[in-house]
């Protein structure tokens, strides 16, 4: 999680969290005197999906591999876009409507890089990291998401 282009101590952010994501805390720490652009993405639990009323989600991860893959994705993005800051954290366990399920923060000199890297990181985490979502519906049923690529 060390940004090699930063002269400040890097914030150590665990890629997985079983507790509420402290989005405000993460954003507050994500400033850098050489970064003119900070982009934050927050993936939040919606009250509906594909026409069904959703009460909440549960995320399950194969933790050791998920952590390593997220760290590798962040390192790759940092290098590719010369980012000053790149952090990501994904929830595990139960999350309810409105909760943040995943947050990605990128910071770079100019804004094109921060946007592009942010999108790249979340797309790769969503598609590649071994993290799975189970939806709990208002009708009492639940279902593990299968490969649904809408974004």
């Amino acid at each position: 999680m060390i940004s090699s282009s930063s002269s400040r101590p890097a914030v150590e952010v665990s890629p997985l969290s079983a507790e509420s994501i402290d989005m405000i805390g993460l954003l507050s720490g994500a400033h850098h005197p050489g970064a003119g652009a900070v982009v934050l993405f927050s993936g939040e639990v919606r009250d509906n999906n594909k026409g069904r009323s959703v009460l909440g989600l549960e995320y399950e991860a194969y933790a050791p591999l998920a952590i390593r893959m997220i760290e590798e994705i962040l390192a790759e993005a940092r290098s590719k876009w010369s980012l000053k800051i790149a952090i990501a954290q994904h929830r595990t366990g139960k999350v309810t409507v409105g909760d943040t399920a995943v947050v990605v923060i990128t910071a770079s000199a100019h804004r094109s890089e921060a946007y592009a890297a942010n999108r790249y990181i979340i797309d790769r985490i969503k598609h590649e990291a071994p993290i799975w979502k189970c939806e709990y519906y208002a009708d009492g049923t639940k279902e593990w998401s299968e490969n649904c690529n809408h974004q």
């Binding site: 194969y62 591999l65 969503k126 598609h127 799975w132 998401s145 299968e146 490969n147």
Partner: protein, 88 residues
């Protein structure tokens, strides 16, 4: 995840995640001798044929790294079966 060392046992341990848990226990052992991931997939379909389609989309990991069918499985391995991510 700490690797389990179980002296005197030669059973392969299988961990499954997410939708695979609708078909298998989260963690179980296989008695038979399994040499590669194709054979593992066949063994799992014999246990629960309903998982056949899902299993064909899964990846396999040993020691926290992905493996393919060329990887020689050994009897004491812990094999993690990884369904596709939801991607949403």
């Amino acid at each position: 995840m700490a690797r389990k060392l179980r002296a005197g046992e030669d059973k392969m341990t299988i961990h499954v995640y997410a939708k695979l848990k609708d078909y298998f226990e989260p963690e179980f052992e296989l008695e038979e001798t399994i040499g590669n991931t194709d054979q593992l997939q066949e063994a799992l379909v014999r246990i629960n044929g309903g998982a056949s389609e899902l299993l064909s989309t899964c990846r396999f990991a040993v020691r926290e790294g992905f493996i393919d069918n060329t990887f020689k499985l050994e009897e004491h391995d812990i094999v993690v079966i990884i369904p596709p991510s939801s991607g949403g």
